[in-house]
Amino acid sequence: MSALYIIAVGLGSAFVLGMLNERQKNLGYVITLAALTVMSAISAQWLIIFAATGAHPIDIFTAGTQPPFAINLRMGVIESALTLLISLTGLLSAIHMGNALVARGRRAMAVLVIAIMALCGIVLTRDIFNLFVFFELIVIATGGMVLLSDDERAVSAGFKYLIVSQFISVLLLIGIIFAYHATGTLNIDGMAEQGASAFALAFFLMFIAVIAELKPFPANGWALDIYESSHPGFSAIFSAATGTAVLFAVDKLLLIGGAEWFPVASGVGIVTFVGANLLALPQTNDRRLLGYSSIAQTGLILTVLGQQDILGQNYLFIAGGLLLAHAVAKAGLYWLSDLVASRQLTAWAALKERPLLVFAFVTFVAMLCGLPPFPGFYAKWELAHALAAEGRMAMLALILFGALLEAGYLFRWFGYLIKRESDEKVVCSATQAIPVFAAVIAGWVLGFVWGELSVTRFGLNNLLLTLPLLFALSFLLIEWAPAWLKNTVAIGGMVAFFVMTYAEYDPLRLIFAVIFLIGGAITLLASYSAHGRRVGFYPAAMLMYAGMIMLIRTTDSFGFFAAWELLTVGSYFLILRGKESEPHALSYILFSLGGAFLILAGFALAASAVPPAPTFSLANLAALTAPVAPWVFVLLAVGFMTKTAAIGVHIWLPGAHAEAETDVSPMVSGILLKAGLYGLFVLLMAMGKQQLFGIELTHALLWIAALTALLGNLMAIFQEDGKRLLAYSSIGQMGYAVFGLALMNHLGWLMALMFVINHYIYKAMLFLSVGGVAKRTGTRDMYKMGGLITLMPLSFIATLIGIIAVSGVPPLSGFGGRWIFYNAIMTSDVRMPMVILFLAGPIAFLYLFRLIYTIFLGQLKDEFRRVKEAPFWIVLPQMIYVALLMIFAVFPGIALRRVDEYLNQFFPEGGLGWSGNEITSAYGYWNPVSIMIIICVIFGVLLAWLMFVDRKAQKVKQFNIVFSAEAPYRPETTHFAWNFFAPYRKALGFLVLPLATMFWGTITGLLHTGADIARRFYTGNGQTYAFHFLLFVIVAYAIRIGF
């Protein structure tokens, strides 16, 4: 069917609707839906034809005359995709608005149908004046749709829109007529052939007028008012359909204008993207926020259009991916907003009770932020690489900054949704639900399509076809099942995957694989203690593990980055589940995404120097040379260190790990941090030592690591909250591991790997232990506990073994790590960082002692006299870990020997000698078995002697002590636990000033203040907006002449 029928059917049905009388509203509604369906069907039919056959676009003539003497339309693959998008949005909005539309009458329906038809017309036409006519149709139709809102303020919003539109039309018409005079034709392709240099001023007027329709920042005050006050079904159309059509119109104009006008589009686009996202930060009205986000995304796509010169034909892939992701997600979110009665962002907590709606929200937010596996992700990847290849790093930085802002306010909103309370009940009828879920399905399908396209065009990977991700997503299907069943499936799946693939890994990666998969399975044992269904836990956890395992299996930068973002998202959802974790989860995702963007920039920069064939292999990092190499190193290293919580970017960790659920903390602290270490491994293996501005970068790493270790441990000793103490301890331990890596010698790396294993085992164990205690006592504050050794003996044993291992005291594995570490230092020549690191060691003793003393030793408090041991499923993994620690202490060679040999290829010297039970290095030897035997003997002897000497000891009651003629009767007065290290705080407290927190807090504060100042620009006065528009035009003109 000819594409003309789209226009004919639209118009015909609108006129028929005009003929109906007021009582035939339902008939009118049926006609409306039928018309929109036909328009969608025609578009779909053409899309299938073009996509399947790859045919050229066809021209449709009118009046039996050839262009340019008559108007012609064009239908191609792009046009059909866009008209399908527009018609479907119209159809779904009409379904969504059902009753509201019928109530408003047949004329309202006619307005809707004409609007959709006109938008399709904008996409299809090849005549510039015809474009103007359709634009004016949109202006009037928008004015009409705005009026149909329940919100009284919509009328003034519409009037402001009409004021600015008048100015826009004037400029557009002047531009068109002078362009006609210069070229003698009104046909776009005809004008394009002649080029715009002959009529540059006229072209400028046309161009700027069309761009103004895109609502660029700052000439868009009127647009926000419309988004805020219109019925959400119409706002969905404005955002998804109108934006799409006008963007394509800009594309047509750029055809005429040529390359010299690309910078104008890019400039306006990037200012809009960053500006609108910035202004979105302080918003509290959900529809206004979505309006700012719409404007921002449109600005981003405009920027991509302006970068056509370097993107070539790929600009369609990138712009299309971003456009479709934006349109589907925005329409979906606007439709969702109809289900929430109040306009406050926090009111969306009402959706919490409906898991399907929450899933829809998550899908839309993920699409907008360009997270995998959605189209925006592939688009973002290609865009970053194209920009880096041309050295447009400033543009890339601005885009990533804007994207981070957007992720910030969207995830903050999600936090409100999950964590706040609401009294509202959400009532969702079928007609309101259908469009939302159609959008969700469309989103996932588009993700698959863009994945396939990326494979054929760029040799990337279709993420939706990778087994780990599919496994994680399959948990969405079994969410109805009880938690223990899902847990079993999860554990089984992870172990099975390991068994299937373990032969593929080299010794280094094998260690990580064991920790991620087998270690993950063991920590999941603790999850058996949970009851109910735990909706949302398993998809999130499996997503995180899928990301982690994909991380070590991939060999190219794309796979690495995709895995990184997947594990970030999965862990964010996990952390968010904690009761008080809303701000911490937000902090976590912001730092993680910031780090991820740095990694993206690093990979893009690397690929620009060593062209990918077809993808950039991680091994190619070694092929980089100055001046690019050090910058890539810095970008990637900082990115990885946001995950290991190096000092300065560590402020998210204490809150995130402490507030997470009992079985989540071991996962994120014990396992997730290792992903960052893995990244550093890969980086250092490939790139080795690098210099930037004369600074040896690995030396800088040493300093950072040493400071992290010192300050992490120092901050741990002052914590009252048990889990926070362990969290800071993780920061410190990661500092040690990074130090070992940064030493860049054989033993340093071996030590780092030993840390990876050890830290996982004892940190997971300690978190489970403290978590179990917290479950039974109801608090995490250590000073409230005490004397629990008799009531929770197994937890005590686990903690005891744990702190012995952490402290590095023989006979446990921590000692082995220390031994290797001292050997490693001997062979290196760094002094000061070493001293700092040595200082960190004894400080660790302090907090370890505090941990065990304040919880288990000391005086038992009254309220806890009846606590039981922690639940079985929490104790079981701890006991497994105890056993593992013991085994590893006595036979470290199990894990280390093969790695030691593997490391020989990087550092041929300095390896260890393995003979029987003895391990030798250049400086000494270590025999774990004999150490264990000796210590056990000593311990046994002492224990026996003590028991013999005290065999007649008398049991003494808790309060059977007297001092200063007073007998205490409350445990609190005799249990020294609160502010345990007060003297140290007096002496060393200055070292733990929250400088990093203040720094980051200042930055976010500045952003918010900036946004608050900028938003006063939007006074609400329509006349002022007219001023803004004219000022925008003049400034754009001045800048254009200037260049």
Binding site: G64, A70, I114, F129, E136, L147
Partner: protein, 230 residues
């Protein structure tokens, strides 16, 4: 004060842009590409004497279709916005001058006749559907001024509007099947240049447009007039 100053500055700036266009403008010596085509081929291909009409109705017929839709949309929205429904205020009759009443009775039929003449002869003489429809609307306005309480049947106006529109679209589609393309006027015989019954479907289309435009303007005027509280 500052606002005026800024407004002046902006207007001056825009004015300078216009001045650049003005001084860079030189009229053509000969007709350009499209104008030449229209000048040479209209009479032979389309059989219309008024070239502007031929352009409006056939060559750029899609624009006209859009324009007609603009009016339809405006009229609908004005009707939607100003609809009083059953809550029309009670209005008392107001005496208007004798001159106006008599003049109206005399002039309105002539005005309507002129309007019909203009749009029926659109393909031969200056004018056409829009101009004719506007003339008809001015007649309606005169009626309203003479008798502010005059009630126009909204359903009749809607019927005229919609039917005219539907027929217009159908004629356009007929062009797809019976002639060269959408809105091709050669579905009817071209006849001899200069006759009333010539130029194929153009007189038919323009008449429909004339009726439609007249009806729409009437609808807008009636809606606006009914808002007045007397």
């Amino acid at each position: 004060m500052i606002k005026r100053f800024i407004a002046l500055a902006l207007v001056v700036a825009v004015g300078s842009v216009f001045a650049t266009l003005l001084f860079g403008y030189t009229p053509d010596a000969d007709l350009n590409l499209t104008a030449r085509y229209y000048a040479e081929r209209t009479a032979a291909d389309l059989g219309a004497a008024n070239i502007v009409t031929a352009i409006v109705v056939t060559y750029r017929g899609l624009d006209t279709l859009g324009e007609v839709t603009v009016l339809f949309l405006s009229a609908s929205i004005v009707g939607l916005v100003l609809a009083k429904g059953t809550h029309a205020p009670h209005r008392t009759p107001v005496p208007v001058g004798e001159l106006l009443t008599t003049g109206t009775r005399f002039l309105v039929p002539l005005i309507l006749l002129l309007g019909v003449y203009v749009f029926v002869n659109g393909h031969l003489t200056p004018g056409g559907g829009f101009q004719g429809g506007a003339i008809i609307a001015s007649g309606i306005l005169l009626l309203l001024l003479a008798d502010p309480l005059k009630h126009f049947s909204h359903s009749l106006i809607s019927a005229i509007e919609s039917l005219a529109g539907i027929f217009y679209v159908m004629i356009g589609l007929a062009g797809l099947f019976l002639a060269g393309g959408f809105l091709d006027n050669r579905i009817l015989p071209l006849g001899t240049l200069g006759n009333l019954a010539s130029a194929g479907a153009i007189p038919l289309i323009y008449s429909l447009i004339g009726l439609k435009v007249g009806a729409e303007f009437a609808s807008i005027l009636a809606a606006l007039s009914e808002t007045e509280e007397l």
